[in-house]
């Protein structure tokens, strides 16, 4: 069997089109809590789109140009909403025990995405080239240096934080999110805990 055939077989076994683009859901998926993850994805779309436009015009644009400032504001509020929905998503998934029934990989990739998102947001503050960038760089360098990370990650080096923010961390976030979503679609939503009187499996 060729490698391509093996991959084809793996995908057929684990992720069909019905899973990727479902047209039906279990009836227990019936709460606004299930929308937090969806809003996370939407906020990420807004962040990437506004970020791409700001990357095209460069870091000075959003300080001196009214349109640039507006896009900076769109980016800023998209990030604020992303983290708001991330916290809600994480909390609800934890309290639903969404990592049960073999879904630990989905959970762990989700937590890694949270870490990548925090790093992305952090380097975003560092690369905004304003007072917040200046003070974040000064304050955070001591923490980075204390942890030994400061030996290769310099919060005060604008070229490094900017490239990390516009390329490395967003790519990491997007890759992790894609894997996270594929796992979710592959595994389906976790079943509720047993009802009262129902036997625990």
């Amino acid at each position: 069997m060729s490698m391509t055939e093996k991959l084809q077989g793996y995908v057929k076994d684990n992720l069909t089109l019905d899973d990727a683009l479902p047209t039906k859901l279990p009836i227990y998926v019936n709460s606004v809590a299930y929308l937090f993850g969806v809003f996370n994805l939407c906020a990420l779309v807004m962040i990437v789109l506004t970020g791409l436009i700001m990357a095209i015009f460069g870091p000075n644009w959003y300080h001196v140009n009214a349109t640039g400032k507006f896009f900076h504001s769109l980016h800023f509020w998209s990030v604020q909403l992303l983290f708001a929905f991330l916290v809600l998503h994480l909390a609800t998934k934890y309290f639903l025990g969404a990592f049960r029934d073999g879904r630990w990989k989905t959970w762990m990739i989700g937590v890694l995405t949270l870490g990548a998102a925090i790093l992305s947001g952090f380097t975003g503050y560092l690369s905004a080239s304003n007072w917040s960038s200046q003070w974040h760089a000064i304050e955070a360098k001591d923490a980075m240096n204390a942890m030994g990370v400061g030996g290769f990650f310099f919060t005060t080096n604008y070229s490094q934080v900017l490239t990390l923010h516009v390329a490395v961390f967003p790519a990491l976030v997007v890759v992790l999110v894609v894997i996270h979503v594929l796992f979710i679609r592959h595994e389906g939503p976790v079943k509720p805990y047993p009802a009262k009187g129902e036997a625990q499996k």
Binding site: K12, K24, F39, S73, Q134, K191
Partner: protein
Amino acid sequence: MSRRSDEYLRGVPMKPYDLVREGVIALGILAAAVIVLAIIFKSPDAPTVRGEDVAKNHPLDYLKTATDFLSGESGLQAYGPPYTKDTDNLMKFLGLAPAVVLGVTEPIDAQKDLVLAPLEKVAVLNKDVAAALTVWKAASEDQQKAWTKAYSDALDKAEEANGQVKVAAGQYGPVPVMMLGMLDLGRAGLLEGALTSNERLPYTLDNTKAMLFFQEGPDSDFAQSVDMLGEQWGITHEVGNLPGPWWLWPYAIWYQFPVLKESSNADAIVGSLMVLFFLLLLFAPFIPVLKHLPKWIPLYRIIWRDWYEKQEGAASAAKKPRK
């Protein structure tokens, strides 16, 4: 559906679902919310604190900072990795100092790099500074220390008025001329350029030296005025009323505890705690108490209330005795 999904959801009633429609509607709602928030509240963009601002508005602070670096006894001179080889100020957690692993990767000699090197550039334009530098270099280390100590003490008693600093006469050698050269560099708006320029590269965006220059005094003072010091919840705040990166709250909270606030190892301890908490979160599905906590705290019954009403309603109906 995939074999796995089919097996897992066997026997579970299903309902129709339109993923694309849900996604489009959610994106529309979120985009509208973002646009409205951006129009109404805009975004924070407070300007940086520049050497020029400090030189013009707080010349005494500027001179004190530059003199401190010139003395060779500034905190930065003995900071440790990644700037210097010193190990006295290393932050440790459980006896370990991670900073020593990579060691000095961004060497900075505060006296040379932050004062004498910029003054060499000023000296090209200013003969008085050039002459003062010549005297400085010819003097012994003890003499240099005596001059900077005397000048530093005098600055502590100096007065600032209308952007000028009045320092009492004393035995300061070439130090006042050198420091006024540094002040003029700042007033001209050239301090950051002089600190950032690199002999080997035509241009650089590494602002480390410029960022380190005013970190202790003027930057710290401004941060305090806008509630951004570590003990004021630091970088989770933003200038003004707009939200900052509030998601760093679990990190910033540790600096509010007196035991950590006053610890010389605070950054290493807090950093290690955050790594630990991240690992706990990451491995929650395998950690005995953490993996069962959601079952013990029945918040899930609120989210799945419709399901439980149906399940338990059907179960109680089935249990009713037949007449």
